[in-house]
């Protein structure tokens, strides 16, 4: 029997009819449904428990179709300086916000991917909040290192709340992490807050410390995920990529393997990360990884470590202020997997589908950097 995806009305009808049917009808329906489940390899749930997706299981089932397909948008890495609305970074951030607002239909929510400020200053964060407050859809905030290391997240927490948290939306379990925790490098040399911030702000800092999610958050994540079915699709938001791409530029999370281990038991995990300012695609085991664009500036691809699945975006034209920058959208499918659309300004959008990642097809070599 072919896999069916019932629309909401049909589903409602189906369940209603289940309640009203005769004993014979029940068995016949249950049988059909079980066969359907087996054939389509859907996860079979009874209440909150997964029964099995083995063929020939003959039990009354409530089929979970995962979420209905929905879309969210993202705006990320605005790197605002406290130089007013005419500064090019502020203009770009506003541009992204207005583009997201112009979406029709509107996205379910907008994620902010971190690095709202450039130097963690109050004025920068407040300017960022002012710009992002223009967003019409619901907004979820994530912190980046440029927001954090001036005052260790004090202003951020005041303006935007918890730096890590989780929520559920249409059957998908979302987790936002603060994946830019580093080993203390400032206390011993008695660094002032701005010194600490500048140390962190330099991407190619030869003395820089690698990002981590850290023990505290890993423990929290483990407890949080313990309450979630292994069949529930998970989407993780992190600032740094939750894998190891290029350490000299901190395109890296040092405890990535430990985090991936916590995510491995789940059937569908997608990580949406920021920080890299480029089109970036990877898959490790069952986890799909997608980078997001920056509104402020693009980064070149690193000299080594680029995941093979990444179809590179072309080099930015320095003479075009917005080239290589942009915002984007994520379509979350009914399976919980994600299709990503990079909305590059002044270019055709680049789309990366879950199917492409599943196929594991290696991308053709990109432009030389």
């Amino acid at each position: 029997m072919k896999r069916q995806t019932l629309r909401p009305e049909e589903r409602k009808q189906f369940f209603t009819s289940l309640r009203k049917m005769s004993r014979r009808q029940f068995f016949s329906t249950a049988g059909k449904v079980a066969a359907m489940a087996a054939a389509s390899d859907l996860v079979v749930r009874f209440g909150n428990h997964i029964i099995s997706h083995a063929p020939h299981s003959f039990q009354p089932v409530e089929l979970a179709y995962g979420a209905e397909k929905f879309t969210f948008a993202y705006v990320s890495d605005t790197h605002l300086l406290a130089k007013g609305m005419t500064h090019r970074f502020a203009k770009a951030a506003l541009k992204a916000v207005r583009d997201a607002n112009a979406m029709s239909p509107q996205p379910d929510f907008v994620l902010f991917g971190g690095d709202l400020a450039q130097l963690g200053q109050s004025e920068e964060l407040k300017l960022g909040k002012e710009i992002l407050d223009e967003l019409k859809p619901k907004r979820y905030m994530m912190v980046g290192e440029h927001d954090w290391y001036f005052d260790m997240g004090e202003k951020w927490r005041e303006l935007f709340g918890d730096p890590w948290y989780a929520f559920d939306h249409k059957g998908i379990h979302f987790v936002i992490l603060n994946s830019v925790i580093v080993e203390d490098y400032w206390t011993a040399p008695k660094m002032k807050p701005m010194e600490r911030m500048l140390f962190m702000a330099q991407l190619d800092n030869p003395r820089g410390k690698p990002f981590t999610v850290g023990e505290e958050q890993r423990d929290w994540l483990q407890k949080n995920l313990a309450k979630v079915d292994k069949g529930t699709p998970i989407v993780i938001f992190s600032h740094s990529p939750l894998y190891k791409y290029y350490k000299p530029w901190n395109f890296w999370t040092d405890d990535a393997e430990q985090v991936q281990k916590l995510l491995a038991p789940f059937t569908s995990v997608t990580v949406i990360h920021a920080h890299t300012h480029q089109v970036l695609t990877n898959r490790i085991g069952n986890i799909h990884f997608h980078g997001v664009l920056s509104t402020a500036w693009p980064w070149p691809y690193a000299p080594e470590g680029l995941p093979k699945l990444t179809v590179q975006m072309d080099r930015a034209d320095p003479f075009n202020q917005f080239d290589g920058c942009g915002w984007g959208t994520v379509d979350v499918l009914s399976t919980g997997r994600a299709n990503k659309s990079y909305k590059l300004w002044d270019r055709n959008p680049m789309n990366v589908t879950a199917a492409q990642l599943e196929s594991g097809k290696v991308a053709a070599p990109g432009p030389s950097y």
């Binding site: 130089k83 190619d204 530029w249 980064w299 070149p300 080099r315």
Partner: protein
């Protein structure tokens, strides 16, 4: 090359006596002019210095002065072989007039090239070309000075590149170009449409200073520009030159 002559080297300077024997007056004068003491030349000319035999190669430019043998004396086979090897080596490596002095003990060879002071040769193949150009080899101190000055300028460029001082809006070069990546200095000069000209690296640097950084451009003579270029080039050391590549 089998006829390699390997001998000791120290830079002796102008202290070696000039060759004696039936050299031309020019050669004597040339060698004599190079040595600091005219009395030595006089002594050499009068024959009071070492007994030597002079052998000139067929190109008439390479001459070996063999100490310990008189003119007209037949050299023993080993010595003759050594002299021949030396002449061959010298002829192979240059076209200049070279006076080679082979002492009796055969521990070293002293060379005077085109009238330069005699120097003691170590490795003919390696050092001869350098010697011909400069007359002397670069000293260790000189090499240290070159390296230190280079390092200083590159570090100055690194600092400018990684700070926002060149602009007025807080933006720095390393934001778009971590480790000077994606600068491609090896592709300049190249035509840039927006600049309406074939641009050098410094033109592009200035464009970036004026536009994304909103600063004032630097002149080519400005030490800051030199430092920036030094850093950018140093980051791309080893890349093939491909001017015009977009």
């Amino acid at each position: 090359m089998e006829t390699r002559v390997v001998v000791r080297v120290l830079i002796v300077g102008m202290l070696m006596a000039v060759a004696v024997g039936p050299l031309t007056a020019d050669q004597v004068k040339a060698a004599g002019a190079a040595s600091s003491s005219s009395s030595q030349v006089a002594a050499a000319a009068s024959g009071e210095a070492w007994v030597t035999k002079t052998i000139t190669a067929c190109d008439k430019k390479k001459t070996v002065i063999v100490e310990g043998y008189r003119e007209g004396e037949v050299l023993p086979p080993e010595k003759a072989r050594q002299v021949a090897k030396l002449l061959m080596a010298l002829m192979k490596y240059c076209d200049y007039r070279v006076l080679a002095r082979l002492p009796q003990q055969e521990t070293t060879v002293y060379l005077s090239i085109e009238g330069q002071p005699f120097v003691e040769m170590q490795e003919v193949e390696q050092k001869l070309p350098l010697l011909l150009v400069q007359g002397v080899l670069p000293t260790e101190r000189e090499k240290r000075v070159w390296a230190a000055e280079q390092k200083r300028m590159i570090e100055e460029g690194y600092k400018l590149f990684h700070s926002s001082v060149l602009g007025t809006n807080g933006i720095s070069c390393d934001m778009c170009h971590p480790d000077a990546s994606n600068t491609h200095p090896e592709t300049y000069p190249k035509f840039q449409t927006q600049l309406k000209t074939v641009a050098l690296l410094r033109d592009q640097i200035n464009w970036c200073i004026e536009n994304p950084l909103e600063g004032k451009k630097l002149s080519g003579d400005d030490p800051k520009m030199k430092a920036m270029e030094a850093y950018i080039y140093s980051a791309r050391s080893g890349k093939i030159l491909e001017p015009g590549k977009h």
